[in-house]
Amino acid sequence: MALLEIENLHAEVDGKPILKGIDLSIEAGQVHAIMGPNGSGKSTLSYVLAGREGYEVTEGSIRLDGHDLLEMEADERAVAGVFLAMQYPVELPGVTGMTFLREAVNARRKAVGEEEIDAMGFLKMVRAKAKTLGVTDDMLKRAVNVGFSGGEKKRNEILQMAVLEPKFCILDETDSGLDIDALKVVSEGVNALRTPERSMLVITHYQRLLNHIEPDVIHVLAHGRIQKSGGKELALELEQNGYADFVEAAA
């Protein structure tokens, strides 16, 4: 059985249908990419998977490791192994990076009946991971994302992913707002987290990111449905022809 199974997923926002029957199955260890024009439903899909309020599933199912995600709140999904790297990471004034990470790790441990993490060991582990992502001690001491550059925010997202060690990662437009150097650091960070057990769903508008994070499968999303799936060659095709074919085909 695949790690993530999405069947006939329909979802709406404010009563407006956005996802209109998505079928997607991702095996453990695989990286899938979803590409699509603006307004195709890419970000909606990421929020529906993560369990954000206001995104109503009207039909279909999502299973992670056989568990019904739609029965879970956002925090329960995170504990079950879902991680959404946000397109626009949120600023948390007054909450330091270290506190945020510790709260997140301890929430997970509490949910599975483990003791709170040892503070010193945790600090060391976070610092080591932060270093490889170019996240400074200063960033960890400051309030989460407050005053961070676009690149710093995205690196911070990947650091959270590295610390929380989820089963299934959704990267929502992780390349947006990044220059080429920052893109490289972030992509290397993501690639370092690829394991035979962990799956990823990379959502992007541009092919550029997929040069750095090479997916096993690419899907084209338009009008709330997956219009086409294929290998790496599909990204190149899109790069040359754009999304016009898909936008018109389904219109």
């Binding site: 709140e73 925090d75 504990v79 948390l92 004034p93 909450v95 709260e103």
Partner: protein
């Protein structure tokens, strides 16, 4: 027009005859002012959001007797010299650090010149009936002098406690606090107000801050849930001084914390920050007035409120920039977080500017917790209740972090955390953030 009610709070018959001429005159004028004005009514502009009917219905008696006062847990670790005012009476005083003079105000007739020359010169009684009542009726309190050039490292912790003893009924206390910081001197004063049962604490703190002096003045209002807390802080600052003021309110059924400062010299740095945390049916009124009388001064004001249940917050902040006060740099902001649909805030920021070369801004915001912040925390596995509590804590800490002395800041963070733990489900343990 003010309500011309009798003055139920004027519990002690003031000695307006016989004593030292300066005190007799001060008391007499104060009582006249109080009787002329009466207690504020709903049509008194400065009190229009705070209904005092419940206070007026009380028939309090003078607070008598004294009780032991213990530190709140949040202040347990603060290294400080302690002063205790129980029901307005000075009941305990540690030895004061070098450079500090302490005088009790139970028998002010015999007070030294530095007291008689300053007491009542900053806290005006004509427009402020509660201050007038305090001035007319105070039976105790303290006067502190920080001598010229003295740098007092150890904070002075003043514990003010009011409670009815042996079935005395509802009591009213009028503690009086005077602090004179002479030129070039530095000190930190921490006021903690607590109590038990129903009572009225009508406190006046008067501050004279000299040239090149620095005063940190930090106040926690943690009165009993049935108490009425009416307080006036009045400060006059001289040139090149720094006044770091912070007030946190968590207690009382009804409280009014008024802070007035006159910046009467050039290059004064005035920091006035604070927070109000209210739940149940609490009513918390904060009124601040900053008088920029001279050029080149800066004032920074940030207040943050958290209002849960049916709590009602009031913030009235006025900045006056007089014609001479060119190059004034004034900032004022009140932010309120409403945690329930029944909670309420009245915010009235006000700028009155007569100088033409100034930089002043003010504002007020009212909001709920941000959905996207809540989702962000939950998407990392943190349950909703905990996520809300983390965001509220962080919100409050942002104001508390303005306290400039670190050990005192830690104590106030702990006090805020204590309130959170009692009143906000899922709140992180003290020091958790």
């Amino acid at each position: 027009m003010a309500d011309k009610a009798t003055l139920p709070l004027l519990t002690a018959v003031p000695k307006t005859e016989g004593g030292s001429p300066w005190l007799t005159k001060l008391r007499r004028t104060a009582v006249e002012n109080a009787e002329r004005t009466g207690l504020p009514g709903v049509r008194t502009e400065a009190w229009k959001f705070t209904n005092l009917n419940a206070l007026k219905a009380l028939e309090p008696v003078a607070a008598t007797g004294t009780a032991e006062i213990a530190r709140l847990p949040a202040f347990a670790d603060l290294q400080a010299v302690e002063l205790h005012l129980s029901n307005g009476t000075l009941t305990h005083a540690d030895a004061m650090p070098e450079g500090v003079d302490l005088v009790g105000l139970a028998e002010p007739d015999d007070a030294p010149d530095w007291v008689s020359e300053t007491l009542g010169t900053v806290a005006e009684t004509a427009p402020h009936p509660f201050t007038a009542i305090n001035t007319g009726a105070f039976t105790g309190g303290i006067a502190l002098r920080i001598r010229k050039g003295a740098a007092v490292e150890t904070p002075i912790l003043l514990l003010v406690d009011t409670r009815s003893l042996e079935g005395a009924g509802t009591v009213a206390a009028h503690p009086r606090i005077l602090v004179v910081v002479e030129d070039g001197a530095m000190a930190d004063l921490v006021e903690v107000h607590t109590g038990g049962g129903a009572y009225v604490n009508n406190a006046v703190t008067e501050l004279v801050i000299g040239k090149d002096a620095r005063l940190g003045h930090y106040k926690l209002q943690a009165e009993s849930g049935e108490a009425f807390h009416i307080a006036m802080t009045a400060a006059r600052c001289a040139a090149n001084s720094t006044y770091d003021n912070f007030a946190l309110s968590t207690g009382a059924t009804l409280s009014r914390n008024e802070i007035r400062a006159t910046l009467a010299g050039r290059h004064i740095e005035y920091r006035i920050n604070g927070g109000y945390l209210a739940c149940g049916d609490q009513h918390m009124d904060t009124a601040t007035f900053i008088d920029h009388a001279e050029p080149d001064c800066a004032s920074h004001e940030l207040y943050k409120g958290v209002l849960a249940d049916r709590a009602h917050g009031v913030f009235q902040g006025k900045i006056l920039v007089r014609p001479d006060a060119q190059k004034t740099d004034g900032y004022q902001m009140n932010r309120a977080l409403l945690l329930s649909r029944e909670a309420e805030i009245n915010s009235k920021p006000e700028l009155e500017i007569y100088a033409d070369d100034v930089k002043c801004s003010h504002g007020a915001t009212v909001g709920e917790l941000e959905d996207d912040q809540l989702f962000y925390l939950m998407a990392r596995g943190i349950p909703e209740e905990r996520a809300r509590a983390i965001l509220v804590s962080a919100y409050v800490d942002e104001a508390v972090d303005h306290i400039q002395r670190e050990p005192i800041r830690d104590a106030f963070r702990a006090a805020a955390a204590e309130w959170m733990q009692k009143n906000i489900a899922g709140a992180p343990a003290e020091g958790g953030l």
